[in-house]
Amino acid sequence: MTALRSRWLELLAIVALAASLVRSFTVQADVTQGDVQRLMYVHVPSAWLAFLAFGVTVFASAAWLRTKQDRWDRLAAASAEVGVVFTALAIAAGMIWARPVWGQFWTWEPRLVTTALLFFIYLGYLSLRKAVLDPAVRARRAAIMGIIAFIQVPIVYQSVNWWRSLHQTSSRNSIDTPLRLTLWLAVLAFTFVYLALMRRRLELARLEDQLEARHADSASELAGDGVTIPTLDRVGQNV
């Protein structure tokens, strides 16, 4: 029962996702595109959640620079990781949809290109985190990059308006009500998935930090008090 209580968010995500899937497959198909349109219920929520995830990263990065509290750094990293997963899912679903509708998986279309670049920008952000071993230095550098990387998000969002091309502009108000409700249900389900993944990733990050601290303690015992690793709570005192 305790395990069930601690996993209520995951359970909620699974139930919502199952409901969304059932609804996605049972709602009427689009008259023009047919069944392939059902991919919209994966593609659109993935893209929106990716934007949300990167928004959380930029907010948490700014909060870290202001407060130097390591929980903000963990939040920024976790959200960027989940955002990259959602971006990849949005690209994959879009490519599968494009094959029957546009005749090819990939076309040199502004929304596609800018989204692919968004994916690589945040891969770069995660690579930067991986490259820096010192947690204090990693948090500071990642916070700077986490803010600058967000420049790409409005470019992706506006690309369909700035360069009118194959990709349709926002159509959430022009589609039929049953389809729109299904889309909103999918967005809700994906939001729960995002929250569940974030919760697990943050727990994992906390455990990683504890492990790192334990290793540092054992290193001190072996090499003496002169050997310690920097911790985030000391950063504010050093500057």
Binding site: I121, S127, A131, I151
Partner: protein, 222 residues
């Protein structure tokens, strides 16, 4: 010493180091020119096709090889030099401005060296070429600003050479778009003002971000 005097001194120091090695003029620019020679061998030596692709190829080479200008050895201060600059009390924002000014100047030089090469090899349409006097510096400044920030957050990392281009290239999309679309606009006789505004806006945003991030970057690399 005022902010601008500090920035000027930093830029002067970087330029003196670059002048001693001539890394951009003697190494990176010939490397870029060699790439411009090789590209037609890979995509075909059809003259009308090359004429149409020339401007785009030029900007791709400027962007990719420009990363080498940003990562040049002479741009890297060793721990001793960095410590001296810190002890002298140089404002991190002035250091950022000085380093960016040097890189922008060298990128502009790189663009100017490659321009006659692409004209000779690809015979691109040169309608409205005086606008290049504005497009080249704006692009060089944007790439330099982005590069200086990215190089700042990767300072001292073992993976700096691989990681910095990964941070720069995807984020340089607005610069590449602005530069290529402005030239395309000139070729087609359309207005290029929106693209110039895009370049200037990106430069301004990066300058503000760079100045604000200068101190945190300095602290992260201390």
């Amino acid at each position: 010493m005022t902010f601008w005097r500090q920035a000027k001194e930093i830029a002067r120091k970087d330029l003196v180091v670059e002048a001693r090695t001539s890394e951009v003029v003697l190494m990176t620019a010939p490397f870029g020119a060699a790439a411009l020679i090789l590209i037609p061998l890979a995509i075909g030596t059809d003259a009308p096709l090359l004429s149409r692709l020339g401007a785009g190829m030029y900007w791709i080479v400027v962007l990719l090889f420009g990363v080498l200008v940003i990562l040049r050895k002479s741009a890297v201060d060793g721990p001793a030099q960095t410590d001296v600059i810190r002890l002298l009390g140089v404002d991190p924002a002035a250091r950022f401005a000085g380093a960016t000014a040097t890189t922008a100047f060298l990128l502009l030089l790189f663009e100017i060296i490659l321009a006659p090469v692409v004209i000779a090899l690809y015979n691109p349409d040169l309608r409205g070429w005086p606008w290049l006097l504005l497009i080249l510096p704006l692009t060089a400044a944007g790439l330099a600003l982005l590069g200086t920030i990215a190089a700042g957050v990767t300072t001292g990392l073992g993976t700096r050479i691989s990681l910095t281009p990964l941070l720069i290239i995807p984020l340089s999309l607005p610069l590449l778009l602005g530069a290529t679309q402005a030239l395309e606009g000139l070729r087609l006789g359309r207005g290029i003002l929106p693209w110039l505004v895009l370049l200037a806006a990106v430069d301004l945003a990066l300058a503000v971000a760079g100045v604000l991030a200068a101190r945190p970057i300095e602290e992260a690399t201390a």
